[in-house]
C-alpha cells in the first residue's frame, strides 16, 4: 500500500514545517504532535500484509494457516510510542504555560532567549 507511506511522510513533513517556520509556541507543540502521529502511521504500515486480520485468536484451537495475521510487533512498539508522545506533549504544554506566566506572551519573538 503505497498510499499509507506517502500519507505518513506528508504528515511528518508538515510537522517539520510547523516546527521550523511557525513562531507561536502552541503551534510548535502541535507540530511535535504531528511528527509523532506520522511516525505511528508509518510503523503501523510496515506491518501490513494483504488479506490478513488483526492478531487476536478467536479461541484456543484456531489454526494459524487458515487466516494469517498482520505483524503484531510494530503494533506493540506503536503502543509504546503513543504513551511517550502523550508524555512529551503534556510536558511541552506545561512549559508553554510557564513561559506565558514569566514573559506574558507565547510568541517566540517576544521571548528573550528563544528568538532567532
Amino acid at each position: 500500500m503505497i498510499v499509507n507511506y506517502i500519507g505518513s511522510f506528508i504528515v511528518i513533513i508538515l510537522g517539520f514545517y510547523m516546527v521550523l517556520v511557525k513562531k507561536n509556541l502552541l503551534k510548535i507543540v502541535v507540530g511535535l504532535s504531528l511528527i509523532d502521529s506520522g511516525t505511528n502511521l508509518l510503523l503501523i504500515s510496515f506491518g501490513y500484509r494483504p488479506a490478513s486480520t488483526a492478531p487476536i485468536f478467536d479461541n484456543a484451537a484456531q489454526e494459524l494457516s487458515h487466516q494469517p495475521f498482520v505483524d503484531p510487533v510494530p503494533q506493540a512498539l506503536t503502543l509504546t510510542s503513543i504513551v511517550i508522545g502523550a508524555c512529551v506533549t503534556a510536558l511541552a504544554l506545561s512549559l508553554v504555560i510557564k513561559v506565558y506566566e514569566h514573559y506574558g506572551s507565547i510568541n517566540a519573538d517576544n521571548v528573550r532567549r528563544l528568538n532567532g
Binding site: 507511506y5 506517502i6 511522510f9 501490513y48 492478531p55 487476536i56 504555560i97
Partner: protein, 96 residues
C-alpha cells in the same frame, strides 16, 4: 524571508527523497519471519493469552514496558514540579 525560502527548499528535497523511499518499500512486502513468526506461533503455548499484542507488550517485551511506565511516572512528576503553583493553590483552597 531568506530563512523561510531555505527551509521550504530543504523540506522539498526531503519530500522527494521520502516519496522515492516509499516507492521502494511498497514493492517488497513485510517478510514476516523470525521474531514475529515466533511470537505469534507461541502466544497460546507460552502465555495462555488470546490477544497477541498484549502477550508481546506484557510478556515477551515486559522489560520495555517497565521502562515505559517509568517514563510516564517521570512525566507526571515533571508536570507537578513545573506547575507547582497550581498544586499548592488547590491545597490552599481545600483548607479554607
Amino acid at each position: 524571508m531568506m530563512k523561510r525560502f531555505f527551509t521550504i527548499f530543504f523540506l522539498a528535497i526531503i519530500t522527494v527523497i521520502a516519496f522515492y523511499v516509499s516507492g521502494i518499500i511498497s514493492v517488497s512486502p513485510s517478510p514476516y519471519n523470525g521474531v514475529a513468526k515466533y511470537m505469534v506461533d507461541y502466544t497460546i503455548q507460552k502465555t495462555h493469552a488470546l490477544n497477541s499484542v498484549t502477550a508481546i507488550v506484557f510478556d515477551f517485551r515486559g522489560y520495555d514496558t517497565l521502562g515505559e511506565s517509568f517514563v510516564l511516572c517521570t512525566a507526571v512528576t515533571g508536570v507537578a514540579v513545573i506547575l507547582r503553583k497550581a498544586v499548592k493553590g488547590g491545597r490552599k483552597d481545600e483548607t479554607k
